[in-house]
Symmetry: C2
Subunit: 405 residues, 2 copies
C-alpha cells in the first residue's frame, strides 16, 4: 500500500512595505501591494507534514501538538479545498492514471520551531508550509506564484513566504483575486548581506488582532486611502530599486518610513490602535541615533527598524553591523543569560557585554530593567520553502502526530 505523504518547511517573512487593509475580506485581497524579506529557515520556520489516505474519515489538523478544529468555510478549510481542486484540475483530470488523491481526506501536522509567546506571526510561515507540503503531496505542476494565490487565502502575508529572498505581494486588480499574488523581486543570493536582529519585547497589553485592526483602519482612518493610492506605489518602486542596487541606505529609509506610516494609520483609526510601546519607542530612538552617527561619519544609514502588529522590533542591517547593534541594544536592554540567539557565533559563545559606539549620544534612551526585551534572535535573509525527507515527517505510520502517538 502506497503512503501518500509529504513534508515541507517554510520561512517567516517580515515586511518592509506593510500590508494593512483588505479590499475583500473573504478572498483576502489587500488594499495595497507589500514587500518583505524572507528570513532564514535555519532559525525560524514552520514544518508541515500532509498525508492523504482513502481510509481517513475527515480532514484533521494538529498545530504544535494540539488538534485544532478545521472550521467549515474557514481559512484552513479554504486552503485545503483549493489545493484539492488544483490536484484534480492539474493532475487527475489531465492524467486519469494518477491516484484520485483529491477525493481522500488529509491529515496535516504542523510545528513552529519558535514559541508563539515570541510574538512572531506564525500564520505566514504556517500557511506557506501547509500549501507547500500539499503541493508536494499532490505533485502539482504549478509555480510558487500559483501556490501563493492559495496561501494568501489562509493568511494574506503567507503568500510572501512562498519565496526566498525579497518578495513582493502584488495587490492585483481582478475581483476574483487571480492577480493578487507573490513574486520574487530578488533571490537571497542577490543580497545575502542583509541580516536581521529580532528584539522580542514584553507587553502587558493584549493587542488588537491584525485582522480586526486593519478592517477598523479601512473603515475609519482618514489617512489610509492617501497612503494606499499615493504613498505605497511610489515606495514599492523605491525599495525594489534599492534592493536591485543593494543600496542599504535607501532600503533603510523606505523600510523605516513605511513602518512608521503603518503605525501612523493604525493610530489614525477609531478607536486608535497602538502596537508599539515605550520599549519599542526606545529601540527606535537607538536606531535613529545609530544612523545619525553613521550619516555624520559619511557611512549613511546602517540599520533599519520595522514593527509589525506588535511591540517586537526587527532590525535589518548589513552583516558587518550586527555585532555592534547587539552590543548597543544590550547596553539599554540587559539580557538574561542565553536570551540572545547568537546564530552566527558573533560572540563565540561568550557573554554579550553592552557597548556604546563612539559618538553615540547615550541620553537618547534610558536603561531598562532586565526582561523589557526578553530575547534577541540573529538571523538573515533566507530561502523559500524546502521539501523535506520522510525522516523529518511529523506523522507516524498511522498518520497521527509522532509526539502524540
Amino acid at each position: 500500500m502506497t503512503v501518500y505523504q509529504a513534508t515541507a518547511s517554510a520561512p517567516v517573512n517580515i515586511a518592509c512595505i506593510k500590508y494593512w487593509g483588505k479590499r475583500d475580506t473573504k478572498l483576502i485581497l489587500p488594499t495595497n501591494s507589500s514587500l518583505s524579506v524572507t528570513l532564514d529557515q535555519d532559525h525560524l520556520r514552520s514544518t508541515t507534514t500532509s498525508r492523504a489516505d482513502a481510509s481517513f474519515s475527515k480532514d484533521r489538523l494538529w498545530l504544535n501538538g494540539k488538534e485544532e478544529e478545521i472550521k467549515e468555510g474557514g481559512r484552513m478549510s479554504t486552503c485545503i479545498r483549493e489545493m484539492k481542486r488544483l490536484r484534480k484540475e492539474e493532475v487527475e483530470d489531465k492524467n486519469p492514471n494518477e491516484p484520485k488523491l483529491s477525493t481522500f481526506n488529509v491529515h496535516i501536522c504542523s510545528h513552529n520551531n519558535f514559541p508563539t509567546a515570541a510574538g512572531l506571526a506564525s500564520s505566514a510561515s504556517g500557511f506557506a508550509a501547509l500549501v507547500s507540503s500539499l503541493a508536494n503531496l499532490y505533485a502539482l505542476p504549478v509555480s510558487a506564484s500559483d501556490l501563493s494565490l492559495i496561501a494568501r487565502q489562509g493568511s494574506g502575508s503567507a503568500c510572501r513566504s512562498l519565496f526566498g529572498g525579497f518578495v513582493a505581494w502584488q495587490m492585483g486588480s481582478n475581483p476574483t483575486g487571480v492577480d493578487s499574488l507573490a513574486v520574487q523581486v530578488a533571490e537571497q543570493s542577490h543580497w545575502p548581506d542583509i541580516h536581521a536582529l529580532i528584539c522580542v519585547v514584553s507587553d502587558d497589553k493584549k493587542g488588537t488582532s491584525s485582522t480586526s485592526g486593519m478592517q477598523r483602519t479601512v473603515e475609519t482612518s482618514a489617512l489610509l486611502q492617501h497612503r494606499i493610492k499615493e504613498v505605497v506605489p511610489r515606495r514599492m518602486e523605491e525599495i525594489s530599486k534599492a534592493i536591485m542596487e543593494r543600496d542599504f541606505d535607501a532600503f533603510a529609509r523606505v523600510t523605516m518610513a513605511d513602518s512608521n506610516q503603518f503605525h501612523a494609520v493604525a493610530l489614525d483609526t477609531e478607536p486608535p490602535i497602538f502596537y508599539m510601546n515605550d520599549v519599542s519607542r526606545a529601540i527606535i530612538g537607538l536606531i535613529v541615533e545609530y544612523n545619525r552617527v553613521g550619516v555624520e561619519e559619511g557611512r549613511g544609514y546602517r540599520a533599519a527598524y520595522t514593527y509589525d502588529a506588535g511591540p517586537n522590533a526587527v532590525i535589518y542591517a548589513p552583516k558587518e553591523n550586527v555585532k555592534e547593534i547587539v552590543e548597543l541594544v544590550v547596553s539599554y536592554f540587559p539580557q538574561r543569560e542565553g536570551s540572545f540567539k547568537d546564530n552566527f557565533g558573533l560572540f563565540g559563545g561568550g557573554q554579550v557585554v553592552g557597548r556604546i559606539p563612539a559618538g553615540f549620544n547615550e541620553n537618547v534612551a534610558k536603561r531598562f530593567e532586565v526582561g523589557a526585551v526578553k530575547g534577541l534572535i540573529h538571523t538573515r535573509v533566507g530561502d523559500g520553502p524546502r521539501k523535506l525527507g520522510d525522516g523529518e515527517a511529523l506523522l507516524n505510520g498511522e498518520g497521527l502526530p509522532k509526539n502524540l502517538a
Copy 2:
C-alpha cells in the same frame, strides 16, 4: 509723574483640532486652521504687567521671577515692536496729544500660576497675557482678533488665548498673515457645561520641541498634506457645528480623531516623533472603554481625550461625568494626597477613592504605580483675557519685579 502701567491675565487653551505645521516660520502662518477650548483662568493663567517709561534704558522682561534676554529679531521682540507700532499708528498718529508711549522702553513681568514642570504649554497664555497687558497699557482701540495677529507671532497657538469659550484660528491665505487670526466660535456661556480634567503624566524622555517637530513633519511626512487639504477643513466644520448644537457626542468624536491624527502625522515624520507614552496610551484605553459603555447604554460618548505635544492627557467631558471620570482614572493611577486639584469640590475636600463604573471592562489597562500620573486638575471652559487692577501688578514703584525688589 504719571505711571504708564497695565496688568492683564490670559488663559491656557487646548486644541480640539490641532495646529501642526507652519507655511511661514517667521510670521507663524499655519498649514491648517485649528480650534480650541479656552480653559478657566481661575485655575490656570498667565499674568503680565507692562510698564512704559521714558527713563527705562531698554526693554526688559522677567518670566516667573527670572530676567530673560529679549533677543533681537526674536518672537518676544517682534511682539513688543508690533504693539509699539499699533500704539503709534492707532493712537499717537491720530491724536497728537497722546503721550508718545511707543517711543518709551518697556518693563514686562510675567508669571504663570502653574508649574512649568506640569508640562502645560505656557507660551499660549504667556504671549496672550503679554499682548493683552500692552494693549491695555497703550489703550489700543483694536479688537481681540487684531491682537491675535500679534500674539500669533509670539507663539502660534497664543492667538487662540485672546478669546474665551470656543475659538478658531483661521489659517488665512494672505502671505502677509493679515488674515491668519483668531475668531470666537462660541462664548463660554454658550456651553459652560464643558469641563476638563488634565492628567499630568510623568515622562523620562525629553520630547521634541513642537517648533522643530512640526517643521520636520512638514518636510518629511507623506500624510500631512492630505490631512491639511482634505481632513482638517471638514473637521473644522463638523466641530463648529457640534459646538453650536452643544452635541457632545459629535464634539468628542472629532476631538479624539484629530488628536489621534496629529500624533499619527508626528509618527509619520522622519525620524518619527512620539509624544504619547504607555501611560498616555492607557488613559486612551480607559476613555475608549468608558465611551463604549456609554454607547451601549444609549448615552453616546461621555468623554474625549486630547493630547498636545507631550504625554499629558486633557479629558473634556460634560460636568456631570467628571466625578466618575476622576474615580476611574484614580483606580488605575493612584494619586498622592493633594495631587488632585478638586477645583469644584466634587469630593468635599475628602480623599478620592477609585471606583470602576458599572459595565466597565477592568482589563483594558493595568493598574500603574503611584506617580505615573503625577496630578489631576479639574477645570472648565473659561473666559478671555482679563484686565486686572493695580493691586495685582507684578512690578513695584520702580518698575522692577515685586518679588525681586
